[in-house]
Structures are given as structure tokens and as C-alpha cells.
């Protein structure tokens, strides 16, 4: 598995995201740049200019038409992917830490930072998936989180719920239509912030990463913890792979803590766990700073990681990755194959 090293950023990566087809990779960093790359060869397709501060977050709509980004310059911006044209800017009182499109691209949520007397909020904006349309200025909905500020948030299936992860380690479920708080459950260790939340392909369950050194797989409907993946280092990001039942976790000792811990091993590795059996399968080294963000190709061909070291690494899986199977998985596979053959025979 030979990685492609993307060295287009000058500062730490904050988020990377594949588009739905898995051919483009978007990356944002603290150096105020948005880059888009061809996933298959790592060639840079272009950049999007305009932000005046570190960019914390990025998302792309399901049709790969529009790009949304949130930044420390207190704005959410919309871009046309094809041309790099800035379509719309929304201003907020504080920095925007997370943006995400709903499954049909008609809504966008943004998580704003708690600062200067402003509480952390989740805002929802209506989006028209047309580059020539006028985007509405108005916020459809604002959820104010008084207890603990939200760090990450996302839309569930059918845009039914908004799920948010908080600084205190809890997960909230809000009604996607009116923003009512339905549940707030302490999932991770108290006061260990949740650093990432990524969805399964059908948005019925999601994976969290936390500074408490664990990652958890949780259902969107009941916030039931399905699986727990323990690591030996604080985690910054976690993602679910397609095609194979794995999850990828990224993290590492934060730079500010390195002096208090062993410098010898920063544990700057991407860790693969089996999604169902919770066992660690392998690690991929390469970064020389903590991994801030990991993303899996929705088509299951590759994964990418962005580090504090300013590099993005794209790894295309090779044959061994696809062939590897637990005995019980192979058993099940064979059984399914047999059934199919029988069906074909009877047909």
C-alpha cells in the first residue's frame, strides 16, 4: 500500500472529505486554503480562495456541485466546485467548527464556537443545489446549547435527527425539523471532548472519536452504543470504510502534551479495527505529527489522512486488504454464495 503524499498545505490539516464518487478529495487546513485533489493520483485540481482565517471544516453536497466551508473568520462560505466561484457568505458572531450537508443536500448545518459571551450553537441553513440560484440569508433554525458546547454535529437518515457531540463527552439527539432536544447521553468519559463524528453510508449509525482514547459506534435512532474501539492515544478522527467492515481511527499525542510524555513514540498512526469484532487489525505509519482527520473513500478504494504535520496521505488499498477475512466472515460469504447459486439454479 504505497501512499500518495499531498504536500499542498503549509499548516496543520483540519478536515478532509471525499465526494460521493470518491474521485475528488477536499482538504482544508489552518493555512486558510481549500484544496481539491484527484483521489486516484494525488494531482491538485485547484484551490478556493477567500477565507481570512484558519478553515476548520468542509463538506461537499451529494451531487458534487457545491462546496461548503466553515472558518475561524466567522463565516460559512459556499463555492462552486467546478469553477472555484464564491457563491455565498454567511456571517456569524464566532468561528464555525463544523459544516455538514443533509443527505439530499437541501440543508446545511453549521456548529459555531462558544466564545466572547456567545454560546455554542448549531444553525441550519436552506440550500438550493443550483449554482445560479440566490441562496437565502435566513437561518432556518438555531439550536443553542447551554450546558456543554457542541464540537461536532451531523444529519441522520431522512434528516430526521441532528446528532451532536459535545465537549463534555456526551452525545445529543435533536429533532431535525424543529430542533427540540430529544436525548443527551454521556457516552464518552466525562469532560473528554468528542473530536469527530462520521456517518455510515446510510446514516443510520455513526462513529465518534474522543480524547478519552476510545472510538464508539452508535445508532442514530436510540443512541445505543454498538461497538467500542479502545486505542492507547487520544483520538482526533474516526471513519467507517465501505466494502470491508473496518473502521479507521486517527490521533496521537497532541503537540502541546508531547513534552509531558515520551517523545519517542507519538503514536502517529492510522489504526484499523474490525468494525464488528472490535479487534485491531493493523496500523499505518507515516505522519510525523498527530492525525487530525481521516476519511474513507465512499467507493471503498482508498482512505486518506491529514496530519498536524501539514501533509495529506492517500492510501489505495491493495489486494491483501480485500482478501483478508476472518474465518467466520468467509464462512458466511460461502453460505451466501451457495444460496445465490441455488437460486440461480432454481431460476
Amino acid at each position: 500500500m504505497r501512499p500518495i503524499l499531498l504536500s499542498g498545505h503549509e499548516r496543520a490539516l483540519t478536515q478532509i472529505k471525499y465526494n460521493r464518487d470518491g474521485d475528488l478529495l477536499f482538504s482544508v487546513s489552518k493555512d486558510q486554503q481549500i484544496c481539491v485533489w484527484f483521489a486516484h493520483n494525488g494531482e491538485r485540481l485547484g484551490t478556493y480562495h477567500g477565507h481570512q482565517g484558519a478553515i476548520w471544516t468542509i463538506d461537499v453536497d451529494p451531487t458534487s456541485t457545491i462546496l461548503a466551508s466553515g472558518s475561524a473568520d466567522n463565516t460559512i462560505r459556499l463555492w462552486e466546485i467546478k469553477t472555484g466561484r464564491l457563491l455565498k457568505t454567511w456571517d456569524f458572531p464566532t468561528a464555525v467548527k463544523r459544516v455538514e450537508f443533509s443527505e439530499d443536500g437541501s440543508k446545511l448545518l453549521g456548529v459555531t464556537e462558544k466564545r466572547m459571551g456567545h454560546l455554542g450553537t448549531i444553525v441550519v441553513l436552506d440550500i438550493k443545489l443550483d449554482v445560479d440560484a440566490e441562496q437565502s440569508d435566513e437561518k432556518v433554525m438555531t439550536i443553542v446549547c447551554e450546558d456543554s458546547k457542541p464540537t461536532v454535529a451531523g444529519w441522520s437518515y431522512l434528516s430526521k435527527y441532528i446528532i451532536a457531540g459535545h465537549e463534555d463527552g456526551s452525545i445529543s439527539q435533536f429533532d431535525g425539523k424543529n430542533g427540540d432536544l430529544l436525548y443527551n447521553i454521556p457516552i464518552h468519559e466525562l469532560n473528554q471532548p468528542i473530536t469527530d463524528l462520521q456517518w455510515s453510508h446510510d446514516r443510520t449509525y455513526f462513529i465518534t472519536a474522543s480524547k478519552d482514547k476510545t472510538s464508539k459506534l452508535i445508532t442514530a435512532k436510540d443512541l445505543e452504543v454498538l461497538k467500542t474501539y479502545p486505542a492507547d492515544t487520544p483520538l482526533n478522527s474516526a471513519t467507517i470504510t465501505r466494502k470491508k467492515d473496518y473502521v479507521i481511527l486517527g490521533g496521537g499525542q497532541a503537540a502541546m502534551d508531547v513534552t509531558t510524555t515520551s517523545a519517542r513514540q507519538g503514536k502517529f498512526e492510522a489504526r484499523f479495527y474490525h468494525k464488528i469484532f472490535e479487534s485491531e487489525i493493523g496500523r499505518v505509519r507515516g505522519h510525523f505529527g498527530p492525525l487530525n482527520t481521516v476519511a474513507a473513500d465512499p467507493t471503498g478504494k482508498s482512505y486518506a489522512s491529514g496530519g498536524e504535520d501539514g501533509y495529506v496521505r492517500i492510501h489505495h488499498f491493495d489486494k491483501g486488504y480485500y482478501d483478508f477475512m476472518y474465518e467466520v466472515e468467509r464462512e458466511r460469504q460461502n453460505k451466501l454464495n451457495q444460496q445465490q447459486q441455488q437460486q440461480a439454479a432454481t431460476a
Binding site: P62, T63, T65, L129, L158, K160, L226, S262, V328
Partner: protein, 747 residues
């Protein structure tokens, strides 16, 4: 506003104007009233004297005085022996000592001492007689003491029986705030036996035979054991810091740097006599204190001399003989006090005077010396050069106090005493200086204690400083670590050399001369850990930030022996080198099969946790545990098998190992089956859940009239929009790949 003279009201001035008689001072009076009873503290009552007449009385008093004056000071006129009406004595006497401490000493040391064949002295304090014997305190009717029904106790050695039948060893782990005892499962997760939060306050410790687990608290020490881990004993020594057991678990020494303060209302275990003491020696069986001792004052440095760095608190301060019969303490520079157990009286009532004595150590086993009928306990000691007298190393036999062997040495700057585990050899590592005191050298003087006359052999002169020395347990080989650089707090740890020594081959059962086997240079090692069964040794670099090597050596390698070593009784082979970053401690399990290494949070906070190796240095397990503090293997008592039985086992080892290997294979395969079964279940559960949720979401979508795949629908719509306005383009990308390149030179 602050009050000033102008502002003072009259009432304030008349403060002192009250009636003196009205003040209730009864509480103060009670506190400070002179208690007459205290005046009798120096008196004792001596019972059990023979009946004498007036004429015989002075003779008895004189005889008695001799005894009484061994513990304190008293005079003839301070002994009052009441006479009965018939002119005969009442068989008791009152004695006044010069101070209460002497009276207490008399009670302790003279009570139950025979005066002659027929008479045994009973000595009590007068105040005690008064306190317990006053009228009304004693019931005239005899009521037999309640004897509690016998209750069977748990078997304290049940830990020897591994329920899995594999003879696994136990260990204790102290991490975070909890202490857990586990069975060692080699590669697998250790099997937990018991785990308790806040079991101890500072550390845990096994007793030397593994019977008890010691926990240390501000109130004292507790011993735990048995299959249900109940509390077995309690020793209430307030603010105890350290604990040491006698080798056979009969006695316990506790030490606190704070002198014991007995509160007024009394103490459950200790008495007023223990006030101000630092050490307490306890009998484990009865959990009663035997005797307490105060810390020795460190002798003030002589004037003009640079104040010597006093060893903070020498530990163990009380050293035990191998048979638990004697315990001894060093009075630096003066003497060694040997106490006899269980009475804890000074052997022959006097400390053994050895001028200048610096250190001593008991032989760890009762040595069967050649040409001696009664095997006595031995200890060795050394004294530095005083004036023109040479330095001396001596071996003393106890209780006869005979010096069995002594050796004079010159130009000695320091000496260290190292006993081999069976007491067969004693190595004295002597650091010598040249006359100018500029250069240093070390010699190893080995006493062959078992041989007739205790011959001494000088092994080698080593130019470098020897920083570590270790005998092979139950063997006759040793390892030393030397360094050329002075030992001190340097940023860069010194380069060291590891040297192995073994005896030459000799005829018969004799052990040949000790010879140098090999030196490995340019190492960082600083610690030696022999397997408790001998043969294997781990030479490690511990508590070092740069290096953390663990070298596993075999001294009886079953391979080819180099020609140069053919006369030696060892064949050295480095089996493996492991690395455990930040390792602070290393310990072999009692069977010599496994080595645990750990990085303790007591020493640093980096990567705390443990590694487990087998004796060959193959890593079996590794676990990082936050706030990992301590690991200790549970010791095992000595084997009950005779020499012949052990030999038989060794002979049939092949048979046994075949059975064990089969068992291991079966166990592993059955464990695998369980794992596979669990995985199958997980897989089924997962797919069942997936099916249910997928169906639920699909139904919901239908209700809302939403497409099954929203994104696909969107893209379809978008494509439809663009279908008319753009021609379809085909982009072809031609890729060339070089598969192989060969170069041929055509002539």
C-alpha cells in the same frame, strides 16, 4: 475605627473585676494535680523468693541485688523485704530503682527468670499490682475463661494449587488506586483472582514464602491471604513506612520515621513503653509486639572532618538469621546487637563489640561447614583501617560468638559483602586506593565458607569501578558490571562493561578456582537479574531515559563451546536482546520461567505498564496501563520434594514435556473455538440489526414519499437537466507502465 484610649468605655477597663472563687478550675486541677501514684513508678514487686529467716535475709538480699543490678541501679537499703509474724519472710520484696525506665526493664527482663533451681522470680511493677490487684478489681470467684470454639481457618497455601492444573504463578499488580492479584496466563490476558480499590495506601508486599499479601496504611500493616483474601493479621504501627519479614515468616519488623506517640486513651496493640520508638518487632502468629526500638542517633561527624553523608535510614535495620532465631542490628562503628527470639533479649545480655564495624550481613542459609559438628548461624562483618590497624573482614558464628575466619586488608576505601544464596560463598568486593589515593582498583575476595578452614581466594584485580555484583542463585558463577567513569549524577549514563566469572573444571566434587569467562564492553547495563533457579541471567539497563536494553544470557548453552572456555564450567550465549522503553524494574517469577519488566509511575510517568518475557527473552505480552506502579510475583515456599525426586523429574523431563505440550495445544484450540463462536455470534447480531434498521428506514422513506436513495435521485435529476446541452465527451487516458528494463551489451 481602631479603639484608642479616648474611646475606651468604663466597662472595658473593669475586665479583671470578678470574684476569684467563682471560677471553676476543677478541669485544670484534674489535669495538673500531682498524681501520687507516679511516685511509685520506680518500684517493682519481686515475688517467688525463698522463705528466709532474719539471719539469712542479708545473704538473700545480696544475692538478689546481683540479679537486680543487671538491668538498673538499686541498693541494699532500697530493697524492702517484709517479715511475717513467725520471723520468716513473706517470700516477696519491694525494690526501688533509680528511675521508672529501669523498673520497666526489670519487669521485662527479670520476670520468669530462675533464681535457683526451685525458685522463679516474678517481677511486677508496684503500680501494676496496685492497678490490677486493688480490692474489688479481682473477682473472688474463679470464672473459667471463655474458650472460643475452634473454627477452621482457610488454607493459607491454597495458592499453590492452580485450579487449571498448570502450576501457574500468581502476581500482584498495583495500578491507579487498585490492587489486583492475577494468575499469569503467558500470552493471554492474566486471569484475575481478586481486585480491590484502595487496598493499600502506599505499596504492597508479599511475605517471603508467599503466604500473605501485606498492605500498608496510616494505621499500620495488614496481612491478607487464603482463598477468599480475608484479613489474616493486623499490626497497628501508626504511620508505618516500611515492613520486613523474617525469612520464615515468623516475625515482622515495621518502621516509621515518626516516633510512636501513644495517645492518652491508650493504643490497641502498643503500650506506653513503645512511646517514642521507631521500630517494632512483631510475632506474626499472635500479632503481638515483641519489642520496640528507637532510631539510632547517627554519630556526629568528628570535628575537622567533612560531615559524612549519613545513610538516611539503613534498611533493613534489623537483619534476620536464616533460621529466624536471631535478629541483629548494627551500631555503626561500635558493635552489633544480636537478639534472641522469641524473647527478644540481647544474646548474652551484651552487644558484640567490634570496633569500627561498618556493615554486616547474615548468611542467607544455615551453612554446613566442613569439620564442624554443630551448624551455627554465621554473619560476616567488616571494619575499616583505624590508625595503624588494617581493615578486617570477619565471619562470626552465633550463638558461640566465635570468629571463624578473619582477613586483614590494606588500603581499603570501601567494601561490600555479597553472600551466595546458599551461604556457600561470600564475596567481599574491596575497593582499594593507591597510596596517593589517586587511583582506584577493586578486588574480589571470595570466602569458600563450606570448605575446611574457610579458604579465601582473590579473584581478579579490576581497574574500573564495580557498580554491580550478583551471584548465581544456588550456583557458583557471578556477573559484575564495571565502569571506567566515576559513578555520579551525570547527564549521560556511563558506558559499562559486563563481566562473567565461573569456576574452573576440577576433579570430583570440588569447585575449581574462579576464572574470568568473558567481558562484554560498551554496554549501558546497570542491573543484573539472575533466574532464581540459576543458569539464566538478564543484564538490563533500568531507570535510564536513553537506553533500556534487556540482554538474556544462558550460561549453560547446549551448543558448541569455544576452545578457550573448555576448562571452564560455563558456556555463555546471548539468547536474545529485548527493549522495554523506560523500564524501571525487572523480576523473575519464582519458577524461573518468566520475567516481568515494568515502568513504574513511581519513578516516571512515561509509558507506564509491563512487559512479560519468557526465560529466553521472547516477548509474550505487553500492556500499557496508566499509573502502573508495582508488580510482584508471589513467592513460593521451598519444594517438599527430595533431591532424588527432583532428579527423577529432571530425568523424565521429556515425558512430562510431551504431556504438557499436548495439554497446551488442546487448551489453545479450545480457546480458539470459543473465540470463533463469539465472533460468529457478533456477526449474526450485526447483520440482523442491519437488516432490521434498513427495512425500517425504507418503510419510513416510503411513508414520506421520499426516494430510496436520495443522492442517486439527485444525480439523475441533474443529469437529466444537462442531458440536452452538452455533447457527450469521451476522454481517453493512455497510461504507459514500464514492466521491466533489461540492458544487454551487444558485442
Amino acid at each position: 475605627m481602631a479603639p484608642s484610649f479616648d474611646h475606651l468605655r468604663d466597662e472595658d477597663l473593669d475586665e479583671d473585676d470578678f470574684d476569684v472563687d467563682e471560677v471553676d478550675i476543677s478541669d485544670i486541677r484534674e489535669k495538673y494535680e500531682v498524681q501520687l501514684e507516679q511516685g511509685y513508678d520506680a518500684f517493682v514487686v519481686v515475688d517467688g523468693l525463698p522463705e528466709v529467716t532474719e539471719e539469712q535475709k542479708p545473704k538473700l538480699v545480696k544475692f538478689l541485688l546481683k540479679k537486680l543490678n543487671t538491668v538498673g541501679k538499686t541498693r541494699e537499703d532500697l530493697i524492702f523485704m517484709p517479715m511475717g509474724e513467725d520471723g520468716k519472710s513473706l517470700r516477696f520484696a519491694f525494690v526501688e530503682y533509680s528511675d521508672p525506665a529501669e523498673a520497666a526493664a526489670a519487669c521485662r527482663q527479670l520476670d520468669l527468670v530462675p533464681l535457683d533451681k526451685k525458685h522463679i522470680l516474678r517481677v511486677n511493677k508496684l503500680t501494676d499490682v496496685d492497678r490490677y490487684g486493688r480490692e474489688g478489681r479481682i473477682d473472688d470467684e474463679y470464672t473459667p475463661p471463655q474458650i472460643e470454639e475452634f473454627q477452621e481457618k482457610e488454607h493459607l497455601r491454597s495458592f499453590m494449587a492452580d485450579p487449571s492444573g498448570r502450576g501457574r504463578d500468581q502476581f500482584v499488580m498495583f495500578r491507579g488506586e487498585s490492587v489486583g492479584v492475577f494468575w499469569n496466563n503467558e500470552k493471554d490476558q492474566p486471569e484475575n483472582i481478586v481486585d480491590r480499590q484502595h487496598w493499600t495506601e502506599t505499596f504492597v508486599q508479599w511475605s517471603p514464602l508467599g503466604t500473605y499479601l501485606t498492605s500498608v496504611h496510616a494505621q499500620g500493616v495488614q496481612l491478607w491471604g487464603g482463598p477468599s483474601w480475608t484479613r489474616q493479621r493486623r499490626f497497628a504501627h501508626p504511620f508505618v513506612n516500611l515492613v520486613a519479614f523474617s525469612p520464615n515468616e515468623k516475625y515482622l519488623v515495621t518502621w516509621s520515621n515518626r516516633p510512636i506517640a501513644i495517645p492518652e486513651e491508650g493504643h490497641p496493640a502498643l503500650s506506653v513503653e513503645d512511646h517514642g520508638k521507631n521500630y517494632v518487632i512483631w510475632d506474626i502468629e499472635t500479632s503481638k509486639p515483641l519489642r520496640s526500638f528507637a532510631q539510632l542517633d547517627t554519630p556526629a561527624a568528628a570535628e575537622g572532618e567533612a560531615p559524612k553523608k549519613a545513610p538516611k535510614f539503613p534498611w533493613p535495620a534489623f537483619k534476620w538469621s536464616a533460621d529466624d532465631k536471631y535478629v541483629a542490628r548494627l551500631n555503626p562503628g561500635q558493635s552489633i546487637s544480636v537478639y534472641e527470639l522469641p524473647r527478644m533479649n540481647l544474646l548474652d545480655k551484651t552487644a558484640i563489640k567490634i570496633e569500627g564495624v561498618v556493615d554486616f550481613d547474615w548468611a542467607p542459609a544455615t551453612v554446613q561447614r566442613d569439620g564442624v559438628k554443630n551448624y551455627e548461624q554465621l554473619f560476616c562483618f567488616w571494619t575499616p583501617e583505624i590508625g595503624s590497624n588494617p581493615a578486617r573482614v570477619g565471619l562470626m558464628s552465633i550463638p558461640s560468638k566465635q570468629v571463624v575466619r578473619s582477613l586483614n586488608l590494606f588500603s581499603v576505601s570501601d567494601a561490600k559483602l555479597h553472600w551466595q544464596s546458599e551461604g556457600a560463598y561470600l564475596c567481599v568486593k574491596v575497593d582499594r586506593h593507591s597510596k596517593s589515593k589517586k587511583s582506584q582498583a577493586t578486588t574480589l575476595e571470595i570466602f569458600r565458607v563450606k570448605e575446611k578452614g574457610v579458604p579465601v581466594e582473590v579473584v581478579d584485580t579490576i581497574k574500573d569501578t564495580v557498580i554491580n555484583f550478583a551471584w548465581e542463585p544456588k550456583g557458583d558463577r557471578f556477573v559484575i558490571i564495571t565502569t571506567t567513569e566515576p559513578v555520579g549524577a551525570t547527564a549521560v549514563p556511563p558506558k559499562t562493561s559486563v563481566a562473567f566469572f565461573c569456576p574452573e573444571k576440577a576433579k570430583g566434587n570440588a569447585v575449581g578456582n574462579f576464572k574470568h569467562l568473558r567481558t562484554l564492553e560498551k554496554k549501558n547495563s546497570n542491573a543484573i537479574y539472575w533466574s532464581p533457579k540459576g543458569r539464566f541471567v538478564v543484564v538490563a539497563t533500568v531507570a535510564n531515559t536513553q537506553s533500556s536494553d534487556l540482554d538474556f544470557y544462558d550460561l549453560d548453552f547446549e551448543g558448541e563451546k569455544p576452545e578457550s572456555d573448555k576448562d571452564l564450567t560455563a558456556n555463555l550465549q546471548l539468547m536474545n536482546t529485548a527493549d522495554h522503553y523506560g523500564v524501571t524494574d525487572v523480576e523473575w517469577d519464582p519458577s524461573g520461567r518468566f520475567v516481568a519488566t515494568w515502568a513504574s509511575a513511581w519513578k516516571h510517568s512515561m509509558e507506564n505498564g509491563y512487559h512479560l518475557y519468557d526465560f529466553k527473552g521472547e516477548q509474550l505480552r505487553e500492556e500499557a496501563i496508566e499509573k502502573f506502579k508495582q508488580w510482584q510475583w508471589r513467592p513460593r515456599p521451598a519444594t517438599l520434594l527430595s533431591k532424588e525426586e527432583q532428579k527423577a523429574i529432571r530425568r523424565n523431563l521429556r515425558e512430562y514435556s510431551r504431556i504438557f505440550e499436548q495439554e497446551d495445544a488442546e487448551r489453545i484450540s479450545s480457546a480458539d473455538v470459543a473465540v470463533v463462536e463469539a465472533r460468529r455470534r457478533l456477526l449474526e447480531e450485526w447483520f440482523a440489526w442491519r437488516e432490521a434498521i434498513t427495512q425500517e428506514v425504507a418503510e419510513e422513506r416510503e411513508i414520506y414519499g421520499l426516494p430510496a436513495d436520495p443522492a442517486a435521485e439527485l444525480i439523475k435529476a441533474k443529469d437529466a437537466e444537462h442531458a440536452g446541452d452538452a455533447e457527450e465527451q469521451v476522454i481517453e487516458e493512455i497510461m504507459e507502465e514500464v514492466l521491466e528494463e533489461t540492458e544487454e551489451i551487444v558485442q
